[in-house]
């Protein structure tokens, strides 16, 4: 089984705050990390290899420093790594990102299963996984919470739904996006860390993957950001302080009066 895992380097966004006085982003101390949902994709790729043999190739598109995300994936057990990096990719929306990644995957050629995290925590769109499978014209199964069975040319998984789950069978190759419930990601091993330090990472440009320049980066993106703003504040409500018993009595009285409870 040859597995491709697509990952993204993201800012650790829970740390990004708005300075209310200047209305600007506070970036101090924001670290770049591997998108947390992609950690489950990496882990699942490694588990499939451990059971069925083959290799796990991790791939990302981003600025040169996205190499760090790939090295982290290798330290966890991925065998090979590919970095798509080129100024021409900058400004890509999910359409142009899916296209570029699909072109790189065509160049890699030999794969049975592509695994992505269900979404990235910076954009939260969940669109790139399905985008890649559509460009490659392969089937997709999103929100996978369990892989039940893999045989040559066949996979059976459970897809998480609002009501429970659906067991789905597919031919291979297939693209899966995985959710948290699928596994518990491991920590890097010493051997993995050594490998991550020394591994030669393939760096591909837009020309290397044969991408149409009109379909990548900002020029290739159907969507653009028109405006960025801080959300308008709701008019503040009533603030209650002091003795808990007294506040609660007052609150419950008002809730009853207004027929809220």
């Amino acid at each position: 089984m040859n597995i491709l895992v697509c990952i993204k380097q993201v800012p650790e966004t829970t740390d990004v705050r708005i300075n209310p006085e200047t209305n600007t982003l506070v970036r101090d101390g924001v670290q770049s990390i591997v998108n947390p949902f992609d950690m489950y994709a990496i882990e699942e790729g490694i588990r499939i290899r451990e059971k069925h043999g083959g290799k796990v190739t991790v791939i990302t598109m981003g600025p040169p420093q996205a190499e760090n995300a790939l090295r982290e994936a290798v330290s966890l057990g991925c065998d090979e790594a590919v970095l798509l990096t080129d100024r021409a990719f900058a400004g890509a929306d999910t359409w142009a990102t899916s296209y570029a990644l699909s072109m790189a995957i065509r160049k890699i050629k030999d794969f049975d299963i592509i695994i992505c995290g269900k979404q990235a925590i910076d954009g939260d769109t969940a669109q790139v996984g399905p985008g890649i499978s559509t460009f490659l014209d392969i089937p997709q199964i999103t929100y996978v919470k369990k892989i039940e069975d893999i045989k040559p040319g066949f996979i059976r998984v459970e897809r998480l739904t609002e009501e429970g789950f659906t067991a789905i069978e597919s031919s291979l190759p297939v693209l899966l996006t995985v959710v948290k419930e699928i596994n518990e990601p491991r920590l890097p091993s010493l051997k993995g860390k050594m490998k991550a330090k020394s591994l030669q990472i393939a760096k591909w440009t837009a020309v290397d993957i044969g991408a149409n320049p009109e379909k990548i980066g900002l020029p290739g993106s159907p969507t653009i950001v028109n405006r960025i703003f801080t959300p308008p504040k709701k008019a503040g409500g009533r603030i209650m302080k002091g003795d808990a018993v007294q506040i609660v009595t007052e609150l419950v009285g008002e809730l009853r009066e207004k027929h809220i409870v």
């Binding site: 009501e163 297939v174 379909k215 409500g237 409870v261």
Partner: protein, 398 residues
């Protein structure tokens, strides 16, 4: 260089602060762009008060925009029943269609679903396209995407809206690629730009701490997904009817699928149906330990509600992910939302701020949760919550 700084720059550093990627620095009173870090996200351009930044890139356009008319809503169905998110989207779509002076249409794919068309008309649709085939009984990514793409190419709607559900989030990205157009996920606001007629798609960005308005300016249709409970459905008007268009020219190839459903398992009793609850009692980091959620369960029991959690509580392993409220969890709109020990990061606020009444309990008087609360109690959750439970038990018994 695609991000250009012109002579109007005075080195005020507003762009430096606005950049989410640390890619702009003011050097000798002039903004300098670090090309390795710049992602061309565009956050700096509107932040500049001096019109000194321009992203100078020619983007490919594809569609002859005037050929595209009408607002479409994908009427997601399960077991033959149209899901409530579709009715909510008809509510939002009705306004957009009225501004554009165009039709509001629903698209319904399924098996034996024609009976559902009446409800779609009652909730605002002028027209319903129905593809009724046994193969479409349950959602399958490939045939649904191929058929929706085919309909889009044939009838050319200007806007296509779908729920940001498991189905919508798998289906619409596929359709957007096949139809060669843009898609904006999880919109919290949809409006028409009076100047250009473009759809203004507003959503949380960069982890939900700021909002961004996204345009699909050169391609059609403009596609967007919206979560359940974000838009409001219209009151049903049972006198409304409309035109049903039964689409029959569907090929075997359009219906073929490489994935197949082996089994559908509903385990609703095991999952919390947070999105349908009238009262939600939610806990965050302030609860300090998983066992303290017991206290929230007691309160929820008294008011007949469900228990939610912030991302911080879920990430700490105190509550399962199915309870998470917020941008990466569920969007909820209960009658009463009680936030206990939740500071209120915007990523949480976007998931609950449209609740009818918000009660927040937090020790920190500066916690952002108080900015959206109708009742903000500054105090210790471990004191206030049990007190609230006792008091409500008392009054609700009467």
């Amino acid at each position: 260089m695609p991000l250009m700084v012109n002579e109007k720059c005075i080195g005020c550093k507003l762009c430096e602060k606005a950049c989410p990627f640390d890619a702009i620095h003011v050097v000798e009173k002039l903004a300098v762009v670090d090309l390795d870090k710049c992602t061309l996200c565009g956050a700096c351009v509107p932040a500049c008060k001096f019109d000194a930044l321009k992203i100078d890139v020619k983007r490919r356009g594809a569609a002859n925009k005037d050929d595209f008319k009408g607002v479409w809503v994908f009427a997601e169905q399960k077991k033959g029943k149209v899901q409530s998110v579709a009715f909510e989207l008809l509510g939002a779509g009705r306004k957009l269609a009225d501004v554009r002076k165009s039709e509001l249409c629903a698209v319904l794919l399924g098996k034996d679903v024609t009976g559902e068309t009446a409800r779609l008309f009652h909730k605002g649709a002028d027209k319903v396209y129905v593809v009724d085939r046994p193969e479409l009984e349950n959602f399958l990514d490939e045939p649904y995407a191929k058929i929706l793409d085919k309909l889009v190419k044939k009838y050319k709607p200007e806007i296509l809206l779908a729920g940001a559900s498991t189905i919508g989030r798998a289906l619409i990205p596929r359709v957007a690629i096949l139809s060669n157009t843009g898609l904006t996920a999880d919109c919290t606001g949809l409006d028409i730009d009076p100047a250009t007629g473009n759809l203004l798609q507003t959503r949380p960005a960069f982890g939900g701490n700021i909002m961004a308005t996204i345009l699909t300016d050169l391609h059609r249709p403009q596609m967007a997904t919206v979560r359940h409970k974000v838009m409001k459905e219209l009151a049903p008007d049972t006198s409304r009817t409309g035109q049903v268009i039964d689409v029959t020219d569907i090929d075997a190839a359009d219906l073929s699928s490489r994935t197949k459903i082996a089994n559908i398992v509903d385990e609703l009793e095991k999952t919390v149906n947070l999105t349908e609850a009238d009262v939600i009692v939610s806990g965050g980091r302030g609860l300090r330990a998983p066992e303290n959620f017991k206290m929230l369960e007691e309160l929820a029991l008294v008011v007949g509600g469900a228990v939610g959690a912030s991302r911080a509580a879920v990430d700490s392993g105190w509550m399962p992910y199915s309870h998470q409220v917020g941008q990466t969890g569920k969007t909820v709109c209960p009658k009463v939302y009680i936030a206990c020990g939740i500071s209120g990061a915007i990523q949480h606020l976007v998931g609950m701020q449209s609740s009818d009444v918000i009660i927040a309990i937090n020790k920190d008087p500066d916690a952002p949760i108080f900015s959206v609360a109708n009742y903000g109690i500054v105090g210790d959750v471990f004191e206030v919550v049990p007190q609230l439970t006792t008091k409500l038990k008392e009054v609700l018994k009467k």
